[in-house]
Structures are given as structure tokens and as C-alpha cells.
Amino acid sequence: MPEDWRALLALVLVFGPLSLFSIGGGASLLAEIEHQAVAVHHWTSPRDFADLFAISRAAPGPGTMLSALIGWKVAGWPGALTASVALYLPSSLLVYGGARLWGRWRGSTWHAAVENGLSPIAAGLVLAGGIAVLRAMPGGAAVWVAAIVATVLLLRWPQLNPLALFAVSGVLFGLAAAFGRF
């Protein structure tokens, strides 16, 4: 039992602080979650991380379900709940308290400077997440090619349904493996 509690505490200590640093959304945390889960805490192998990442993106809901899956991998259902609460609660409390203050300061110059100043960091963190997962993926060159093709398709046709793209890519990779091409 103490083992379990220690695992849950470790989840809180990783995801709680990240909650307050997820600038511009959960995607900005991807690189750090990968680093913590694989290299620092050895919660998952790179192989498992790639699987959990894929599953978290194919499921519905806010894009940060990856943390719940890491928690589940570490400590089952209690782990999934603990990681989710640790990730959502601090930022939710902040936004709950901040909504009124923010409305009062709307239109001031520093308000706009904070907004414009944080967005390039958010963009950089999201790109870093893509790079980090790509480098950790065990799949080889085919994964890089597919990721680049998917990027180009989604930039060219933003209305494209990502799920359809996930499905096509998954089926192609599955077929290639079934027929022993990679």
C-alpha cells in the first residue's frame, strides 16, 4: 500500500506543477510529459509511450487525456484519476479566480502584451512536443514520413477530419506490418 501511495504522490508532483505551465493548452505539455514519463520516472517504455499517445489522440475529449493514461499505467484507475485531477485542478482554480480580474483589466496595454508574448512560446512548446514524440517513436523512417505528410495535408486542408487521417494512417501501417514490409 505505501508503494501505491508513493506512486500516486509522484503523479501529483509531476502533473500538478505542469498544470500551471500548460501555456496555450495541453499540447504544450507533450514534450515534458514524454520526458518525465520515459526518461525521468521510467513509467513507460518508449514503445508504450507511443501507444498511449496514439490512443489518447484517437479518443474524444480534451487533448490532455495522455496524462490519465500515464497515471493508469502507473497505478490503475486511482492513478488515472489522480493524474487527471492533478493536471486539471490547479489551472481550473486559477481560471476560476482569474475570470473576474481579467474582465476588469481587459483592453489595457499589458493585457495585450501578455497575450501576444505568450503565443509564440505556446507555438514553440507545441512544436517541441511533436519533435519529442517523433524522436521517441520506435517506428523508424516510415513514422517520420507519415508525420510530415499528415502535417502538410492538415495545413493545406484545415477542414480535414483528423480522425479520418488517423484511421487511414493506422490501417496503412497495420497492412504494411501484416504483409511484412517494414
Partner: protein, 192 residues
Amino acid sequence: MAEISGRDAEGAARIGLGAIFAAFFMLGVTSFGGGTAAWLYRAMVRRRRWIDDQAFLAGVALSRVMPGSAGVNLTVQVGQRLRGAAGAVAAVVGLVSGPLVIVVALAAGFARIAGSGVAHAALDGVAAAAIGLTFATGLVLVPRDAGQVGQILIVLATALMVGVLRWPMLPVVLGLAPLSIGIAALQQRRRS
């Protein structure tokens, strides 16, 4: 939170906590691809008219500056407007609980067939496309105006330090955020 707060926001037409939970539960299990904010707009602003356009845009602006998932942050604010703290809790729990069960069930189901190389390969394919979605999302956020060289350098520096050099994210953000906000403030002063 069983206690029902009598002091709901602005005394607007009271919407039950159960209805809030149910609406956000539906939103959670039907919003695919991570763009929860866009789905929320359709469900809560357009269809149910629980908040108006202006309140929604103010919420979006706030969630750009505040940490946290934009979808969850907007959900907190809509729930808060409808029924105060209890409304915020009902909305967030509603939004997150369905996907949480689904995603863990998917992972548990996958663990059963994980021995098969084909299943792993298929997930590699899904992950590759999901990485493409991540890149596309990040690239859309990159500033494009000619005068924003500073911002583009900040994007590159962040991606390089966190993604390639694998420096820990928190100190990188703490170091670059003041710099980036300073650049934005200088540009505003020059423009005005």
C-alpha cells in the same frame, strides 16, 4: 460538491446542475480531435445559447493567457457563469469523465492485443498522423507578420530547447516568457 450555492452568477435563468453536467458530458464524448473550444462554441453558444458570443470570446482570450487546456478553461468559465462554483465543478466533471473512461477502456483493450505486431504498427500509424496534427497546430500559431522576427525567434528557441535539446520545460518557459512579453510590449509602443 453536493451543496447548492444560492448565489449563482448574475441571477440568470437557473439551469440545473444535472443539465450542465449532461450537456458537458455530451460535449466531452463527442468532441474529437482535441478542438474542444470549437465544439464548445457550437454546443453552448450556438445551440443552447447559454452564453453569448462576447462572453465566449472573452473566455477564449483569457484561456490564451491562463495555463491549462483551452477546452477545460472555457468549460470552467461557462459553468461558473451558469451556476457559480457548483456549476464549474459539474461542467468540468461532465466534460472529462466520459473521455477518461473511454480512453482508459481503449488502453486496457489494447493491452490485451498488444502482443500482435500488427496492432503496434497500426498505433504507430495513428501516432504518426497525430504528430502531424500536433505540428500543424503549432505551425498555425506561428506569427506571420513581417515585423515579428522576434516572435519567430522565440518560437524557434522554445522548440529547440524543449524539443531537441530536451531542457526541462519549466525553466525554459520562466526564462523566455518575460523576454517574449517584453518584445510584444516594445512592438506595441512602437506601433502607437
